[in-house]
């Protein structure tokens, strides 16, 4: 067990470095109202966060991260450009890996920046990069926004696009939807029978609960529309797969995406964004060849990120969680701001891990 005082000291040292780069220090409550987090993450968060109950305030969650409360605070009070830093404990249940700590320190930066997103991405990334300089970590970067723009640009009905976007962070369900929309997977018998029936509600049985008969009729209409829609062509599915497989040196990956965009011009703006970001990172004095690009990076664990994503790994300790990670979360600010949106990007460092690596030398 590491010395807690040493970790706190390291956390404050890292925070002061963020402050020197112009970030304003902020604090958040440790006990967060559970409802907001549950609405954002869904029920799955209960498996990862500690929940407790207060007789007055209802369900509360021990802060599983800082990003949501800091973004919440910003959207309530400011919603302009701003840059914050923080240091403190976060709490995570570890049902599957019980050797991992359930509470640990995070030091982070959150940059709300109206204007040039490539600049903002590079500023956050390079700040963290420079602070981890001598630890021999492998930085990985990705961009979930490229897949999102490909889905957004599919020639199909909106309902299908919305369903795919909703499951962009759940690769299994996303794949099932693609298989169904492309006709690779047959429609289940029960649905085929439902669609063949002239009056599906005739023998439906007693109406109970809050979901009304009209909601059911509406969904049947949606299913009919879906059944009448042309399947997604095989070559479009292949292009999506090709996007997901892009990986390697950033410049080679960019070149590969430029090839794919010839067959899928809708991703051009997103690929332009990647190119500008890589330039901006290079302008900060970082050698792009030291980075690894993966188009599908962070797709399963980093659910509120919707563009640039990154993580720093120890190659010597493959079992160690990322020492630092972060990304862009524009859509989160829109949800927290109830319509208002401020482009935002942020990242965290785990001082417990940086200390551990430093001690090894």
């Amino acid at each position: 067990m590491q010395n807690r005082a040493a970790i706190r000291k390291e956390a404050l040292r890292l925070r002061s470095l963020f402050e020197k780069k112009g970030a304003q220090p902020v604090e958040t409550d440790i006990l967060q109202p559970a409802a907001a987090l549950l609405d954002l993450y869904g029920e799955d968060i209960r498996a990862r966060a500690f929940v407790t109950v207060d007789s007055q305030k209802g369900e509360l969650m021990l802060r599983p991260d800082f990003t949501v409360p800091v973004a919440q605070m910003h959207m309530e009070h400011g919603a302009e450009s701003a840059c914050y830093t923080y240091a403190g404990e976060v709490f995570r249940r570890q049902n599957e890996c019980r050797d991992r700590p359930i509470e640990y320190f995070q030091v982070g930066i959150e940059l709300f920046h109206i204007g040039n997103p490539a600049y903002a991405d590079a500023r956050v990334f390079s700040s963290i990069y420079s602070m981890l300089g001598n630890l021999r970590l492998k930085p990985a970067i990705g961009d979930i926004g490229i897949l999102m723009s490909a889905v957004e640009g599919l020639s199909t009905i909106n309902r299908r696009k919305r369903a795919l976007m909703r499951h962009i962070w759940r690769p299994g369900r996303f794949r099932t939807l693609l298989d169904r929309y492309s006709g690779r997977m047959p429609v289940p018998n029960s649905r085929a029978e439902l669609l063949a029936s002239k009056d599906p509600m005739s023998n439906a049985g007693q109406v109970i609960g809050l979901r009304t008969a009209s909601e059911i009729t509406e969904r049947i209409e949606a299913l009919r529309e879906d059944a009448a829609t042309k399947p997604l062509p095989e070559h479009v599915i292949e292009l999506l797969d090709e996007i997901l497989e892009v990986g390697g040196k950033p410049e080679a990956s960019l070149k590969r995406l430029r090839e794919i965009e010839l067959d899928m011009p809708v991703i051009v703006p997103a690929v332009d964004g990647l190119e500008k970001r890589l330039e901006a990172i290079e302008n900060c004095g970082i050698d792009l060849n030291a980075l690894v690009f993966e188009a599908s990076y962070g797709r399963t664990q980093m659910e509120y990120y919707d563009g640039f994503v990154f993580g720093f790994y120890s190659e010597r300790h493959s079992e160690m969680p990322p020492v630092a990670s972060g990304g862009r979360y524009d859509a989160l600010t829109r949800r927290l701001g109830r319509g208002r949106m401020v482009p935002a990007v942020g990242g965290v460092i785990r001082p417990g891990l940086t200390l551990e690596l430093e001690r090894e030398g």
Partner: protein, 231 residues
């Protein structure tokens, strides 16, 4: 010390457990008075039966206060995180069969699979402004199952009894509960999703992995294991 076996303290599970011991040539005997919650096995020494609520047996196994325990697979998997590091499934007992299933109102003609449930949940949330509620007492099992199948926009609401009535009472839109015949579900106007079986459960003899065992107990434990596994 002696080898302790946790046995359900009442009802059908207790009767079936006693019958099962009988089939193995180990007649279970209540200690002293009829109502005392302990007993022994005829035909083997150094064994103590500890009568417990079936719901408490997983916890007693996990901390090693009992060496063996008879309880439902559903209870062990729901109550013990990383259950397979704490207990071993020794023998399936072939009674107490029950399936943990996801059920929705029968009149939801558009919802027959998890795929449908997911789509219905998304639309429900847009319309009603809150996540579709699923009433259950099996929070861990149901959450893991729905996550593995990529269902979103739902919430679990706790229901410790009469769960089948939750939809009619408008405290939930769907339920996840144990069923054996499905009669209660049908009587409450509910149907099981085609791919909505979360767990096929039955009574199981579990062995605790961390129970303290003396040399004498070890011999007893091995003999019991042999007798349990004999046909």
């Amino acid at each position: 010390m002696s080898v302790k076996i946790g046995v359900p303290s009442k009802g059908r599970l207790m009767e079936d457990a006693f019958k099962w011991f009988g089939l193995k040539g180990l007649k279970a005997v209540h200690g002293g008075l009829e109502r005392e919650y302990s007993g022994t096995l005829d035909g083997i020494l150094n064994v103590e039966l500890v009568m417990l609520s079936a719901g408490e047996i997983p916890r007693e196994l996990s901390v090693g206060r009992i060496h063996f325990g008879i309880t439902g697979m559903d209870l062990v998997r729901e109550k013990l995180g990383l259950w397979d590091r704490r207990v071993v499934e020794t023998v399936k007992l072939e009674f107490g069969h029950a399936d943990l299933v996801i059920a929705v109102p029968s009149f939801w003609v558009d919802v027959n699979t998890l795929d449908d449930l997911d789509a219905a949940a998304a639309a429900f949330r847009r319309r009603h402004g809150f996540r579709l509620r699923i009433a259950t007492k099996y929070h861990r099992l149901v959450r893991e199952f729905l996550r593995n199948h990529g269902v979103a926009d739902y919430q679990l609401v706790d229901s410790q009894g009469a769960t089948e009535g939750a939809v009619k009472n408008e405290t939930a839109e769907a339920i996840a509960d144990i069923t054996t015949t499905g009669v209660t579900l049908r009587a409450n106007h509910l149907k099981i999703l085609e791919d909505g079986v979360v767990l096929k459960s039955q009574a199981m003899m579990y062995r605790a992995l961390c129970a303290e065992t003396s040399d004498e107990d070890k011999a007893t434990l091995n003999e019991l294991l042999m007798r349990f596994k004999q046909n």
